[in-house]
Subunit: 238 residues, 2 copies
DNA sequence: GTCTATAGTCGGATAGAC
DNA sequence: GTCTATCCGACTATAGAC
């Protein structure tokens, strides 16, 4: 697990500052990625303070200064993780978000908006079972949003706010009310929170449901209830 | 802020172990309480590791060993906080829980159960605006349940599980299904999670709602949506 | 009961060789 | 690029005086 010989001669570029991800990346880029993977997992399981750089460096098979070399500091590494998460969430939800925005731009019916909302929620729920890393990432985000740390602003503005905005607008359309109606926003927060119970609150929900994991079957049941909740929107209030 | 003279002579009781809360408590019991208050606030704001005993001792106006004297260790202090929280939550929700159980024991109608569920949720929501300490306590519980620590078992078995059980049973009664129906349980988790969005997820919800605080007015709006969600139960599903 | 002083540990970061 | 060795600050906990 440790490479000894370097096949590349001096390239003239000695990254005293930091190896910015230029186009022609060379060797250690793989090392960088390995560190990032390990850190993502670690920071997902435990908080920023609880995770030690020593642990990460050992798990990644590198020495401590190597972390400093690539990410400058523990905080830099943490931010790097947050960036990677944002990247991936974006890729996973972009198509659903795009078509939702399309629906919103047209003068669409309440039912079209309802269908779109279901699609958005389904896309988000897909992150539940997407990869085995998904859980760690969801925990990372949830923890950072509740106990703001070095990556709060990034995660809030890139993930949370857009999600709440989109959901609020869709709900407002369904209810036929203004998107500034506080009730639409409250319902949006509650809907998202209902989903997150099984995502960031996974472990405790698993225990309550006596599930050992969240697979396709469990996911279907969760989505069933979420759909019911969406169906109830606009059919009840005074 | 520091008392110098001791007015009490030797009492013959030298608490080498710990000053268990016996009936005839003497002086330092007030010190103990002050430490507990400070610790409750601190552990509410930050995690177990993030909070330092130094900070607590300074804020409480005592020296470090005093913490050890009263609580044995940092962990003991943490457990003490959890115990205090359980006490208070119990007092606050016992009457609602009792009448809910009463409704469940009788062969009550779905509508009676629905009304009871609203009452239970309202009682829980009352913790939102109860005291200014309420926020810290909710955060304490939420964090411990998500990132299990020394007080997990206590909080889970004393707060979370009973709450989920009760909610599940009421929902099952409303829907006229078995209380073992996974869907009833899922709905219970979602309902509780919807409320917690404004409790443990307070700061981020405040920001999304552009509220500066959660007062009576805001609480009413949250409860309005929760009631709507409860009203939708049993009127939708296949 | 409460203090001062200190022991013992651990974590993040740096210096500098290779 | 990656390592070994080391510094230094911060933390919990204990010893022992008053």
């Amino acid at each position: 697990m440790k490479q000894s010989s370097k096949t590349l001669p001096a390239t003239g570029k000695t990254p005293k500052t930091r190896p910015v991800s230029t186009t022609g990346y060379r060797k250690g880029e793989e090392t960088r990625q390995r560190i990032l993977d390990v850190a993502l997992k670690a920071f997902g399981e435990d908080s920023f303070i609880a995770v030690t750089t020593r642990h990460i460096s050992e798990a990644a098979g590198v020495s401590l200064p190597t972390l400093q070399y690539y990410f400058g500091s523990k905080e830099g590494l943490y931010r790097g993780c947050a960036g990677a998460i944002v990247e991936r969430y974006r890729r996973h939800t972009s198509s659903a978000a795009a078509s939702a925005r399309e629906v919103l731009n047209k003068e669409s019916s309440a039912e079209a908006a309802r269908a779109q909302l279901k699609a958005v929620i389904k896309a988000l729920a897909g992150l539940l079972v997407g990869s085995n890393q998904a859980e760690a990432w969801a925990q990372f985000v949830a923890r950072e949003l509740r106990d703001p740390g070095p990556a709060f602003e990034l995660l809030y503005s890139s993930l949370w706010r857009p999600g709440v905005e989109l959901t609020t607008k869709l709900i407002a359309r369904i209810r036929g009310c203004s998107e500034n109606d506080p009730n639409a926003r409250i319902q949006a927060l509650m809907l998202i929170s209902s989903l997150l119970a099984f995502q960031s609150g996974r472990s405790i929900s698993l225990r309550a449901m006596q599930w050992s994991t969240i697979g396709q079957e469990e996911l279907a049941m969760v989505l069933f209830s979420l759909d019911a909740q969406i169906d109830a929107i606009g059919r009840d209030h005074s």
